[in-house]
Symmetry: C6
Subunit: 78 residues, 6 copies
């Protein structure tokens, strides 16, 4: 069973907003699975939240994850 089973049961969401939240969660969980030590991650968080280049990299990843989720949901065209 996968580490992600409970976290990503589906890519389908009700709304674009929930798709956005899912994109952010997926990016965070990938980092958590590479660096599983929460304490280290906590220390690292101070590094990137005050560093525009790293904030932008985080936003870039979210944009890529969101592309996938938006396609999965047929862009919530309704």
């Amino acid at each position: 069973m996968s580490l992600f089973t409970d976290l990503i049961p589906t890519l389908i969401t009700e709304t674009p907003a929930e798709g956005r939240e899912l994109a952010m969660m997926m990016a965070r969980k990938t980092i958590a699975s590479i660096q599983p030590d929460a304490e280290v991650r906590g220390a690292l968080r101070g590094d990137y939240a005050d560093d525009t280049e790293q904030l932008m990299h985080a936003a870039h990843i979210v944009a890529v994850e969101f592309q996938t989720i938006a396609a999965a949901n047929n862009y919530w065209r309704g």
Copy 2:
């Protein structure tokens, strides 16, 4: 309810220009949700607005978000 609910009710826009505005807003709001302190963000803004590498990274993210929005709108082919 998601933090993005009011911000991104839909990916559908009337025109490419409005799609472009939405792409910029989405990128900004992602950064705001990672670094929620507006004062810190204000200070950081000075860093990147005068730094071509960071301006380009911002433009890169907007280009990726816009890909998603343009696809959602069938490229406003009309």
Copy 3:
């Protein structure tokens, strides 16, 4: 009304060459909307036009914008 209304009335162009020009314009206008001060941008231009890494980042963004425009135009398959 959007800042981009006059700039990007449509993603549809006659030829790939015009699509390429549109991609470059879109990238430039995004940067201009993040850093609206033309004088600052003029000063920054000196930084990146002589710096291969930054020239490449600019070319990278154009490539991403062009992906969107080429898809919008069904790749001008004619």
Copy 4:
């Protein structure tokens, strides 16, 4: 016969979670095939697991691999 034959017999997975695991494995195996020395990779791991910029780059690659896998699986729309 390819080095990847046993590792990537298929892009099709049962669930999004398994697709995510596959994306992470594919990224790791690419790095292993470029730098085949496990000891060197072990030493390098210390470098990136404590470096937010590099953690983010790893997450970025996983996001790109996942785009491919999600499309292969028709987004597990089921």
Copy 5:
């Protein structure tokens, strides 16, 4: 008339190999249009041809351009 008119009359090529050449040419011409001074570009070339990070960025851009061209040609599936 566009600067690119003679350079990119079409995205359609006979073979994947020619598509690859077109991808490289498109990346080069974008850089040439941002930095039109051939002498400056010649000097810059020395910088990136001996720098793995910059060689990789160049290869990255070619990969993105090639995605567009390959899609335009229905991947030369024949």
Copy 6:
């Protein structure tokens, strides 16, 4: 005739594993065509194989090339 003619006769492969090999080869050959001097490339290899950031950039490019190849092969859905 193109430099790539013998190298990339087709994007179609039997299996995902062979597609992955093709992606790696395409990335390598692009770099070889930008920096044709094998001796210089050999020297540069030492730089990136021991540098996680550069290994990750290489893996990133392979992921992008693989997106194209996977789409060309309809994801080997069978």
